[in-house]
Subunit: 432 residues, 2 copies
């Protein structure tokens, strides 16, 4: 017999459901805690605590140019605006520079330590002659010229990078919550740090439901389709920095679904930060997720959005498992994808310090009709700054979705939008 369909427990606007998801997941950053990983494993991770500079950057005053280290005062001692100084032994990078003898000029390479006494670097191209003398050491250390003539026009401090001028010791180099990209990891390396404290990667359990759904790579029985949602949602979570586990496809049977869920959560209850289901939550007769979970802490209802209207959310309380936030998305693949983009990704970005998808305003290239009073998410492309839909509004149009680079968020309100109407558009990058 047809099982009883429980009534919806909420009717929400998109903003209301976004807020409910944010509240449900608010504890996520704290739950992740801290782990220390080598720099090479920290790319894309989130810094767990403020990073304090253990030493100044640069660690010592050094030369910004290949040239001569001098005292600026030695350049303007005579009646002419230049000075001819004896050349001291050169200062290679990577060595402790000996003090500069008074009245001398020492060849210095970019990045080399400024010798004590020097306060200025005159670039080699300003010197006469504009080449370094060959250094052979001994009593007559230079093979060619032993003096150099330098202009007096360089003020003290020119082409010197003082110690700590990029960052003083003890300053905050990076703030907790910073997402670690190449530049941030490069800074940590320059500070001498070989490992960083980062947040644990969050972990989600993803389940698809439905008797009609078969795993990719398997043959279809009549009436079946291949499961796109497990792939769509695990890939979307991975792009957002999550680890994922799957519990396969659960048949349209509430008891079997609940058992599969409990099994998947039982071995490691405290490392699942989120359960994400797809399918089984709308007004149909075979709504396994609603039937299994409505009494388990999950509220089901509808959001004024298309696709992705049916939604479920709550703190899952199954016997024998720790409570875990659960979001239940509808089963049509595009509905599931759009639910992720509208309800989950923005909240994850906000909570975990991940850059959100850029949101722009763009005019419609064509007229669009939509259900009045609902936010409709249309898939398409931005071309010449205008949004052009790919395919219709149908939530089964995965081919069109796979070629879309933008999601137009047609606002609730009127059901007809003229060409040229400005609408918010999330840009997703170019799949080509």
């Amino acid at each position: 017999m047809l099982p009883e369909v429980r009534p919806a427990t909420f009717r929400r606007s998109v903003a209301e459901h976004q807020a409910a998801v944010r509240t449900l997941l608010a504890g996520l950053p704290d739950a992740l805690g801290t782990q220390t990983v080598p720099l090479a494993a920290a790319l894309g991770r989130t810094l767990a605590s403020d990073l304090t500079a253990p030493r100044p950057l640069p660690p010592f005053a050094n030369s910004q140019m290949d040239g001569y280290a001098v005292r600026a005062a030695d350049l303007s001692t005579g009646p002419v605006p230049w000075a001819t100084l004896p050349v001291a032994p050169p200062i290679p990078a990577g060595t402790a520079a000996p003090p500069l003898p008074p009245g001398h000029a020492a060849p210095i390479m970019t990045g080399a330590m400024l010798p004590a006494g020097a306060d200025t670097v005159v670039p080699i191209e300003a010197a006469d002659p504009p080449q370094f003398p060959a250094f052979v050491g001994g009593d007559a250390p230079f093979r060619d010229h032993t003096t150099v003539t330098l202009p007096a026009s360089f003020a003290a401090g020119t082409y010197v990078r003082p110690a700590g001028s990029d960052l003083p010791a003890g300053a905050t180099a990076l703030a907790a919550g910073t997402r670690l990209g190449a530049a941030q990891l490069g800074l940590a390396a320059a500070l001498g740090l070989a490992a960083l404290p980062v947040r644990r990667r969050p972990r989600a359990l993803v389940l698809s439901t439905g008797d009609e759904v078969a795993a990719p790579g398997t043959e279809l029985a009549p009436g079946q389709i291949h499961d796109a949602n497990t792939t769509l949602l695990t890939a979307s979570l991975a792009e957002a920095g999550w680890d994922t586990a799957t519990a396969g496809i659960c048949a349209d049977n509430a008891a079997a679904f609940e058992a599969a869920l409990a099994d998947a959560l039982a071995p490691d209850p405290d490392v699942t930060d989120l359960v994400l289901t797809s399918g089984g939550i709308s007004q149909g007769a075979y709504e396994v997720v609603r039937q299994a979970l409505a009494g388990r802490g999950i509220a089901f209802g509808s959001v004024a959005m298309q696709p992705g209207g049916p939604q479920g959310a709550g703190l899952l309380a199954l016997p024998g498992t720790a409570p875990v936030p659960l979001l239940a998305f509808p089963g049509n693949p595009v509905s599931s994808f759009v639910s992720f983009e509208v309800f989950l990704r923005p909240v994850l970005c906000e909570l975990l310090g991940v850059p959100p998808r850029p949101l722009v305003q763009a005019p419609l290239a064509v007229a669009l009709d939509k259900p009045p009073g609902k936010l409709q998410v249309r898939r398409g492309i931005l071309e010449d700054g205008r949004f052009t839909p790919l395919g219709g509004p149908g939530s089964h149009l995965l081919h069109a979705l796979a070629h879309a680079t933008a999601l137009a968020l047609l606002p609730p309100g009127p059901g007809h939008l003229d060409p040229g109407t400005d609408v918010p558009v999330l840009t997703m990058g170019d799949p080509q």
Copy 2:
């Protein structure tokens, strides 16, 4: 003694060096070849060949709504704009639907196969009564109503998703070169594919040079600094989809550098697609990379850019190793980062189908001075649509770089730019 510095072999504009890098790496896509990986490992990879749909999407005509499957002609047979039809057994999703008896209406759920004979779905909310009867089977299969009254206003085809309406069998689902994100992988899953042909990930060997450079995590000798470039460049390559190997830090000795390079390339000469060095290529006296490689197929010279002026590029020909493209970047960390962003990333994006960094035009928030005739890359942020620099132009300012979200490309030409001048800006996302 100071070794001889070989003269520069080129002076190039930024565009000329970009073109030289593109030519050097043009064979990369072919060199990568094809490998087949499971869907879960294909995220972020590049499709190696056109993907043809092995079956139509959807694979069979199905219902877009929960409702009644009918023949549209059965709804308008009488004098009134509605029809009362006997209810046929329901059609769950995931089963082969039996043919619809003439003049009947069959309860059907979203996604379920449309039965033979039906051409239209009337949504449940348009039916009277607007609920499905409880199906108990047997001779009197329905517990409550056995007929349903449906409006005649639904044209044939309404709320039906025809087979192949998203994608017909044999059509190109995704083109070779497509970057595989969540939506593209979801499409492949929906087509029943459990694995995809993708390009091998390209692989780079990264080497830092300099006696003054020490690995992060080690103590500094006087005059030494920690190596940021290995981390900066391996992380930048990883973000662009590359695998990387490192050969540590090579001292300022041409023979040792060449030996380290040959060692790193020898074991697996054909899996290194690119060698990336940093340091040792400018006009100083200790320029190990120039000294070692100028006779090995690599041209060194200067590009009209700051930072990142000294550059080297060519096809490295070392005895006993296969020729491999090599780029030599300057040693200052910001120079190295900027060289990657200006010369390497755009070419890799173009060759490998990876989305490039977005380039926008933005006005300067403040006046900026720069060397005339050179493209200067300034690090900063976009705030209220205007570019504000962080830190000065110095190529050692890693802390400022790590807080930058935008790179302004101040064009060659005049040395002074007024506030409000529009300049091209690469946006790098938000590190916070």
